[in-house]
């Protein structure tokens, strides 16, 4: 019973430690990156501060939370949204920081990270659309169309914020009003090629993480089997424990190295794998159409290489585990056989000694016996009571022979 409880306790402890490590990274990765705007003197804000969904238009601002909700949190403007006629400004309020762009649609009470807009650099935007995207008549000076294939477009941009936010790209390409009035068709998507490449670069690391998550569970299950003969298999249990601990440490480092761009993260759950698949499928469909351009072709080749590498890491990880466990199982069996042989030899030796002793104590014919116990007299109860009770033989003792009993 104790062994089973101990096994369960170890698994729960491992789950708690791993969840702690994962949650630190997941919170950081899932946290929406936002840029904020403060209202002008008349309380007006640029109209791309408006966020639209099926529930209508929203204006969000940030507050400093307390208690369980510490950190910068999202709140909705209680006064609603009042856009001006031409749709370029919206009436906000005074004194608050309103969210302008976000890496994903903000949720009420959600913790966000405010991005400093000072850091700017170059990027490549990929527009994927089923129908003609509603581009502005004159593109800004920092945007240059690189390639076009059907409705899919590739833009080279300079001086944009380093954290890609789709709404910012939509606002630049389709205009403020289109964003504010939510007139952009939902199938028109704008992706950052830098973010896609960054995500693809993480694939082998994610495979490694998966290996480090699954292998300790396999080791735990194997160790639980070995724990049935804990005394005999102690070295293997220690090795498995040390390996699992090393994997937890490795996971901490690996998690630190994983950098998934905020724009690629799902809205709700980090484990929403369908989101990643859908996003990548859409983006790669666009890139495949634009293979004539070197940037698109390069991205596709890079994706293929990294994907193969990821599969390789996964296979090597599980293969090594399988080999390790097989070797361990063979060693366990060998050890058990050796212990059994030793035990048998020890028993044989014991029997031989006993026989020899009996033979030496048997009276020889003609030899006078000095004293012999009277067999007819019954044994006194005190002498029988003093006999120690036979030791209960444990399951482990049957096969395990300590080293010092080994025959030389």
């Amino acid at each position: 019973m104790k062994k089973k409880v101990f096994c369960a306790m170890l698994l729960v402890l491992w789950v708690l430690v791993v969840c702690t490590l994962l949650s630190i990274r997941v919170e950081d990765l899932m946290m929406p990156r936002v840029t904020v705007s403060t209202p002008n003197m008349d309380g007006s804000l640029p109209s791309d501060c408006v966020f639209s969904d099926e529930m209508g238009m929203h204006l969000f601002y940030t507050v400093e939370g307390t208690g369980w909700e510490s950190g910068i949190r999202v709140r909705e403007n209680p006064n609603g949204v009042s856009l001006d006629e031409d749709g370029t400004t919206v009436q906000g309020g005074f004194g608050s920081s309103f969210i302008r762009y976000a890496s994903k649609f903000p949720k009420l009470g959600e913790k966000v990270m405010i991005e400093q807009t000072n850091a700017r650099g170059a990027d490549t935007w990929l527009v994927v659309a089923q129908e003609e995207p509603p581009l502005v008549e004159k593109l800004p000076f920092n945007v240059e169309q690189l390639a076009k294939a059907g409705n899919d477009l590739l833009f080279g941009v300079t001086q944009v914020s380093q954290t890609y936010m789709e709404k910012e790209a939509q606002s630049t390409l389709f205009g403020l009003q289109a964003v504010a009035f939510n007139s952009i068709p939902p199938d028109v998507r704008v992706y950052s090629l830098t973010d896609i490449n960054t995500f693809i670069r993480q694939l082998p690391l994610l495979s490694g993480l998966l290996v480090l998550l699954i292998v300790p569970v396999i080791l735990w299950a194997f160790s639980c089997l070995l724990a049935r003969k804990a005394r005999a298999n102690r070295p293997f249990l220690w090795v498995n424990g040390a390996l699992a601990a090393a994997m937890v440490v490795g996971m901490a480092f690996l998690l630190h190295a994983i950098q998934i761009p905020a724009s690629m993260m799902p809205l709700d759950h980090v484990t929403d794998f369908s989101h990643y698949t859908q996003e990548l499928e859409e983006a790669f469909a666009g890139l495949r159409a634009l293979t004539a351009h070197p940037l698109a072709a390069e991205a596709l080749t890079y994706a293929g290489t990294r994907q193969n590498l990821a599969v390789g890491v996964l296979l090597i990880g599980f293969l090594l585990t399988a080999i390790g466990l097989t070797v361990e199982a063979i060693l366990v069996k060998k050890r058990a056989v050796r212990a059994e042989t030793l035990a048998r030899r020890a028993a044989k030796l014991r029997d031989a000694r006993q026989e020899e002793f009996q033979r030496s104590t048997q009276p020889v014919k003609g030899q006078s016996v000095l004293m012999e116990r009277d067999q007819t007299r019954p044994e006194s109860p005190a002498s029988t009571a003093a006999q120690p009770a036979p030791r209960k033989v444990k399951a482990d003792d049957r096969k395990y022979v300590p080293r010092h009993t080994k025959e030389k």
Binding site: K2, V5, F6, A8, M9, V12, L16, C19, T20, L22, S23, I24, V26, E27, M30, T66, G67, W68, E69, S70, K111, H269, V270, T271
Partner: protein, 257 residues
């Protein structure tokens, strides 16, 4: 007649088990059965979405381990002194210790607060750990446990050249394993269930252990609260399942002698 009595006793025992387990069963099932059906969103929120809950869990765990370790050291020394040394006023002191043991926490809260304030320890974890280390229950249990060791064993150890600490570590402690485990477990659980002391001695919410912080969860997140309850139950559950024999032995030992 005997059979009827047996049935009645069994029915009463079953009822008692149901009444005792009902809150936990309710908490466990409500943590994933919601009005929308079975969903594990709250488990995701507590275990993966944010480290705040688990951080608080580990903080509480660290605090309780410090309390349990500290109390074990103090209780072993005090218990050995009470059990194996004869000095003037020993019985009076032991009687006072027992009186302290039955005093409710609320009585010592204000004096402790004044002392901690004087020492400048308010708003620190030391304010929770230090007073808990000197709770007399451990000393009482270990006194009873050490009294069970025959004096001749201690004398033999002394003749073999053991000093006081070696007598404690090499002779008394290995012979009172159940008492030690019982003290360790009860002091850990005492720290784990601490509520009044953190509220009185700590101002900052960030420092609250999980037992107190649970009460401050927003009402909208009642399912999260329930998941946190499941999380809080885990250490106590495992410790009891693992050490139940020692715990029962330790308590029985303290009662019998």
């Amino acid at each position: 007649m005997k059979k009827r009595k047996g049935i009645f006793a069994a029915a009463f025992a079953i009822l008692l088990v149901i009444v005792s387990l009902a809150p936990f069963v309710y908490v466990f099932f409500r943590s994933f059965i919601t009005v929308r059906g079975i969903e594990f969103q709250s488990y995701y929120d507590v275990f993966l979405a944010s480290p705040v809950y688990l951080f608080r869990f580990w903080k509480s765990m660290g605090m309780c381990l410090a309390i349990a370790a500290g109390q074990l050291v103090v209780s072993v020394l005090a218990g050995y002194g009470f059990a194996k040394y004869h000095f003037k006023g020993r019985d009076t002191l032991f009687f006072l210790l027992m009186i302290l043991m039955v005093l409710p926490v609320q009585v010592t809260l204000v004096p402790d607060y004044i002392m901690l304030n004087t020492l400048g320890l308010l708003d620190t974890y030391a304010a929770l750990i230090l007073p808990s280390i000197f709770i007399p229950l451990g000393s009482f249990i270990l006194t009873q446990s050490f009294r069970a060791i025959p004096d001749s064993v201690v004398d033999a150890a002394m003749l073999d050249g053991c000093g006081v600490f070696r007598q404690i570590v090499l002779v008394a402690m290995p012979m009172s394993k159940s008492g030690l485990v019982c003290t360790l477990l009860l002091s850990f659980l005492d720290g784990w269930n601490m509520v009044e002391q953190p509220i009185a001695y700590l101002k900052d919410f960030e420092q609250y252990p999980i037992s107190v912080a649970l009460a401050y969860a927003p009402p909208a997140d009642s399912t999260i609260q329930l998941v946190c309850c499941v999380l809080v139950v885990l250490p106590a559950l495992f410790l009891f399942a693992f050490f139940n024999r020692e715990l029962v032995e330790g308590i029985t030992l303290a009662e019998v002698r």
